[in-house]
Symmetry: C3
């Protein structure tokens, strides 16, 4: 080996040492947890602190130095300091020259600053390369070894090699890393830990709105009407009877709302003659929250089931049965058995139970760990075929519940509440019925496989040898 090789090896050794030493600025919860995890994974850890002598509770095996000294020890420096205190880094500019600074910070609220913390840091220390990472990982997840908590580290930054160094560290700590692009993505990453169920917001408001509307509708039609016309106070029914009208109606409507956008999208594709035109924004947003709509509908269905099973032990129900039996005895009458009623009631319960059973199955397959173990074909079979069967069963359940109630005179021109619940499901089922008729189905399938109706923009397809996109 000649001297060059030896020199290269020395260089390599030094680089290697630098690579396995990591510096952390900040000795708070996150800094300490990160240091502990790094030590466990075989890294050397050097803390940078304003007051190295008074830094307590640091993990065993780590060193503490003044910031400048600590910075020299490693090529990667984690800045585990709040944005408000970034100021001190400007004085270290020369020590940080050429280093990789990993910004792990989060803010307390969204919208506090116009610029992301990472971009602000990049402006403060222009000589260093900034990588945003680990801000979505909590101190607790670092401590618990990543088994139970989110194991994906999101990373962004402008320089690929710096990012790769951070990716290597993340993987060595037992995390997986996902590159989210340039440092401009940092603002997005910093918003992530501050979000509170962003995808659930719209479905939640829909559920609340629907529930409130149905509640007041039923309150007016049942309780207030009774009060006004007969002077009877039956407000106690709010707690169970009314709740058990509101919950199933909201559940059925939301279940249908969860399948409506898919059907609409099918018709839109038929109309456009291609699948390559964007859906309108409202439809896109609607389709993105279908899972949440469905799960909320399941929650309401679950409550409906519980409320139904509690019926026979209710004081009011026992009272009514008792009164009825005694009245029969007194009038010397007998309960006439009605075969149609027996069929109707039992069918009604059966539809409901089977529908709920399928609904629970849909819910289970939407658990992340279950849906991950399904391939695309299986997932769409469950969510589409079984989903429509669920809608069908639940709609039948509602129809059998109503039976001939729609013939009765309306109270205050208000139809029975169950009729409101049937509008959306019927629309969905009719649309689906049209979509699965053989001639329409063939067209939709061809469109979804990439076929486009003849038009100017797709003239390049006419030679029939263009690269057809894969269905995936």
């Amino acid at each position: 080996m000649n001297s060059d090789s030896v020199a290269m090896m020395n260089l390599h050794e030094k680089l290697h040492k630098q690579e396995t030493t990591v510096c952390i600025f900040g000795t708070g919860d996150f800094g300490r947890s990160l240091g502990l995890r790094l030590l466990q994974s075989g890294y050397s850890v050097v803390y940078g602190s304003r007051d190295p002598k008074n830094s307590l509770l640091l993990p065993k095996g780590s060193k503490v130095m003044a910031h400048a000294a600590a910075a020299c020890e490693a090529s990667v420096i984690f800045v585990a300091v709040q944005r408000e205190h970034y100021g001190f880094l400007t004085h270290l500019a020369s020590d940080l020259e050429g280093k990789v600074l990993v910004d792990v910070s989060n803010n307390i609220k969204t919208g506090l600053y116009a610029e992301s913390n990472a971009e602000y840091l990049s402006r403060l220390v222009p000589g260093a390369t900034i990588v945003k990472a680990f801000n979505t990982i909590s101190a607790w997840a670092l401590q618990s070894g990543g088994l139970d908590a989110n194991r994906q580290v999101l990373i962004c930054g402008d320089q690929a090699e710096a990012k790769q160094q951070v990716v290597d560290i993340a993987q060595r700590l037992g995390f997986t890393a996902l590159d989210k692009g340039s440092l401009r993505a940092a603002a997005g990453l910093e918003d992530l830990p501050l979000q509170l169920f962003p995808l659930w917001r719209l479905p939640f408001y829909i559920a609340i709105g629907l529930a409130a509307f149905i509640f007041f509708y039923v309150l007016t039609r049942d309780v207030i009407y009774e009060r006004v016309t007969n002077g009877k106070d039956i407000t106690f029914r709010i707690m169970v009877s009314l709740a058990n009208k509101v919950f199933p109606i909201v559940s059925l409507v939301m279940l249908a709302l969860c399948y409506l956008p898919g059907a609409l999208a099918g018709f839109l594709q038929l109309y456009n003659g291609t699948k390559y035109r964007r859906f309108p924004d409202w439809l896109d947003r609607w389709m993105l929250c279908r899972k949440q709509l469905g799960l909320l509908a399941l929650a309401f269905a679950f409550l409906h089931v519980l409320y139904t099973f509690v019926i026979p032990i209710r004081y009011y129900v026992r009272y009514r049965i008792n009164v009825y039996t005694i009245s029969l005895v007194k009038d010397n009458k007998t309960y006439e058995f009605d075969n149609v009623a027996a069929w109707r009631h039992d069918s009604y319960y059966s539809m409901g139970i089977l529908g709920f059973g399928l609904f629970v199955l849909l819910g289970i397959t939407s658990l992340p760990s279950v849906s991950n173990s399904l391939n695309w074909k299986e997932f769409s079979f469950v969510q589409s075929k079984l989903g429509y069967t669920t809608v069908l069963l639940c709609t039948a359940h509602a129809f059998l519940y109503g039976w001939d109630k729609f013939l009765k005179p309306y109270k205050w021109w208000m139809p029975p509440a169950y009729m409101l619940s049937l509008v959306v499901p019927c629309v969905v089922l009719i649309l689906k019925l049209i979509l699965i008729t053989p001639c329409v189905d063939r067209k939709v399938t061809r469109i979804r496989q990439g076929w486009e109706r003849q038009s100017k923009t797709s003239a390049n397809c006419t030679d029939g040898k263009t690269n057809q996109p894969l269905m995936a």
Copy 2:
């Protein structure tokens, strides 16, 4: 540094650039999603297209070129084109020489071609190295960042280095990679996305078959017998009463079928005197679908619970109670309280509830994310100890339900349906009882720890110092 080192560095730089540029042939859904993800992860992306000027909707930051030009830009080329259009690649043979072609294609149906797409591609472009990968990942999973969708990329190919390049890309995109061997495995990988619950098929047919048999048995014994002998039409009972006989019976039998193969395997190992002899094929297949058998049994048990709780609000049940009360009043009799009946009924419900509770627990621990967090000892404790307790409780539940019904005269020589449900569970419990008697248990444990009965084939064990296999 001498000139060689410089040359090597230049080469390295060029290689590095080639490594971070990825070419994609095909601008369909999958190609576009893949390109977007690659760009986000810091790769440069070049699309190869027949008609670069008319390729629309491609992700920002990517380039589009003619196929030949695009191929020169990168060492890894994703072929996101359907198999039927592979033809054009033969004209590019010289441009593809030495490149890594990643075949991501799937077919619409299984069995369309004798040869896998990847092997066909390998024949078409012999100068390139083919790697099959990413075909189990959907365009949607690529877009959604892999958090919610399957994150494992299956890879196969004949050359290790080419595979490593694809593994690196997969990991950089946030996926984990699993090497499935040589290109001959491609056919298997291409079948994966076309499978529809392969492991559930057998248990599902068993469930359907059993349910149909029990249904017709119960229909004959209850409804048709009543019709023929008493002329009474009680067909309305099909909807709830009969369903609530069929579901628990199917559930109990399938639960027992789920534990039977384990017990049989124990006896087979005892008989063979070793655990190193293969089980017969039917037993192997049976053991592989135990989880599915158990989960279907749980689904039936769940329906049974719902059908049971709905009993007291049924029209027919209320009618019967009413009629009975009135008849007592008229005959001036009182309901005689039977202490044994009270014990029996309450025990029967209690066994059922506790059994169902444990059953739900078994179901929860078989969720992928839960079973992953258990070690082997914990998993086998739950699935074996708690599993047999569940069988025991549910069998006791059925026995208490039946009580003295087996003494009543059979209708048309048909015993009550619940008796059918007890055969398999009793067999399982008796077999298990034998297996856990101390003397048998000791033998089985030794066999499972690797001990073999003296015989010719295991003569090499006689020196007592052979490497004993680990229990794991």
Copy 3:
């Protein structure tokens, strides 16, 4: 290129070959499964065996040799042999010089040996580098491709490079690797597969103890008291009535116990004026098992729900209703409708149902795959806000159940059992109420953001520019 480079390349090639060949000592279950997986992932596999000619059932494509010969073929050797048989390795000391030995062994029981298997191996073969790994992975997980089983390989060892080689192998096999530090951690890793729900132990004993206490309390107060004072035998009530008193009480108390430590911790932080002082050990241990306490409470609540829904089909209940109706008829009285009772009963059921619904939601979000998909803010919103709402609803449910029962004369000076269940929940709710009053809340929030009360040890904070720790 000069000769050095050529030499380096040859060396590299040889190293590369050695790196891609893996040797396995031991041909048992684990050795075979590991070999198969290595082969699938592109490694060459050489088995070392005492009797290479009689080694059967080894995976196709692997070679079998005598130990010494096999050791020469690879730089990494898996020792898949039980500890008792490690002796033969001392004879191979020279062949193992400089090799990486991966100890994958487990013991049958904990505490069998003072020294971990890996450290023992390290003493036996001082010339080799020992890495402990893969012992938490079962043969079955190796075979099933890691999709369904635990995919994390825990690794420890004293030399970083040797560990890195094993990490590379683990990743290539589709596992993720987590470095657990030096070889001294091996004892801990070897205990892992022998643990049986260590975190569940304490909560389980608490549940059993509580359930036993409440059972005997209720047994004495209801059954024995009735027997002694009225001579009536109502032991049959044990099966359902008593169970349905024990389960809800245990559930409510355990739910409250799950939130009590958090409230106590808040007060302790207020008292200490900092969050940087350690909690006492008992509180730490209590806080670590909150999830398990909560899930056990949910299990009891689930059983309570089932026991409640079964009430109206119980023989005893039907008997009582029947007797009551007939007595009303005979005495020519009518059931007087009590509006307050109707309100109370229905509210009581409603609180219970909504509380249980929220409780199930809490349970679902504690599934690993669900909690992993939540950020810290969402997780703490669900577990804290919704958790306290659940406690509140369930406590209200218990209060409404009791209503005026606390006024009735005690039997044998024993208050009704439900009153016992209310003590802990009320304490929790009162503590929480204090903590969320604006003035206290402000202080707690500041402390949790890292603020410390002025004191000598934190004098270094006075300049206001110290690195404030991040909330994470």
